[in-house]
């Protein structure tokens, strides 16, 4: 199965309907990031998206379905961004730029709200197994983008042959997510910087130069 029934609900939508659906999801994505999934009510979503109850229930059978649409949307959004940041990664400098971009973006809100995917994962992992699976898959893809870049670096002789791209990528992801959480809790992005720098140092230890 290359494109499961998940992405597009089978019923066809008019342009107007599709736009309403998009507005609902966009509002829910934002609200659930800022307030958390459980603390976001359907009335919040309805108000923020300028829609009505019937529109919510026209597009989603229940709140759980909306949450899953939010997860899918956010995952696609983050992965799209990260593809842009990582698909041409082939040097240590590139990895530093990747780090800087994430830190800067998080600094804009002083670390508040954490990682868009990480906070969903933390809240939903033990709550909704389907959402958890989607998030696990998204993390895996994100990590895969890192691993692919690291593999290019290894194959081009930037990294030593014994560097394990998958393991290094896991380490980077964990440092990133842990850094997000510490920064969010402390209201200070410093721990995120330190964590990422540790992970970069670890990669650096496999540099050939």
């Amino acid at each position: 199965m290359s494109r499961p029934e998940n992405v597009q609900p089978e019923r066809k939508l008019t342009a107007r309907g599709a736009s309403t659906r998009a507005r609902i999801v966009a509002a829910a994505v934002e609200l659930m990031y800022v307030k958390g999934v459980n603390a976001t009510t359907l009335d919040d979503v309805r108000a923020a998206s300028n829609t009505s109850k019937s529109q919510l229930y026209n597009h989603f059978p229940d709140k759980e379905a909306l949450v899953r649409a939010v997860v899918a949307s956010r995952a696609e959004q983050v992965l799209e961004r990260e593809r842009g940041n990582l698909e041409r990664l082939k040097s240590f400098r590139g990895l530093v730029r990747w780090r800087d971009a994430l830190v800067q973006r998080n600094a804009l809100q002083n670390g508040a709200y954490g990682c868009a995917l990480g906070s969903l994962a933390s809240e939903l992992a033990d709550q909704d197994d389907q959402a958890r699976a989607t998030l696990a898959e998204s993390f895996a893809q994100w990590q895969g983008l890192l691993a692919a870049g690291l593999r290019r670096m290894r194959d081009n002789g930037v990294l030593k042959p014994d560097a394990d791209p998958e393991q290094l990528a896991t380490g980077l992801m964990a440092a990133l997510q842990g850094g997000y959480l510490l920064a969010e809790t402390a209201h200070d992005i410093k721990p995120m910087e330190i964590a990422l720098d540790m992970a970069l140092d670890h990669v650096k230890s496999y540099l050939t130069a």
Copy 2:
């Protein structure tokens, strides 16, 4: 202010009352870990603690107060455990034992539920600033235990003089928390192991021997 009014409610409790309060908090701690804070209702707590509504509201003015008691209790619990694991840390082998203990403990539940403090932090940080502050302080103390051990290692010549105990401790904490989250999402503790091993490798790079 060394001990704010936070810890002990000013009203005196009989032994029976204190035991009821403890039962309530213990049940809430467990439920909120497994189900999440927002998904845990006061009725869940009432049932699990074998109490009644009036007892809940006798001891806590509202749910928020109970949540804060849960945070304080869990923080004390985790720190008590970590003090035991870290107060005599003075060698790299000790750090490995610390890592192993955490991984083993998390493996018991196959990574589910994540870190007892981390999951509270993620859910409450942007929701309840007082809880966030308590959690930030708890993370800081936890990290302080690590830093103190690393400092002993440095002062005893195990680590090089340029090793920065606070930074290394931050890196370890981030790898731990990130590892918890990835493990929870993937239902696999492997990423937690890899993340911690990366952080340990980083510490190892400061070893003198």
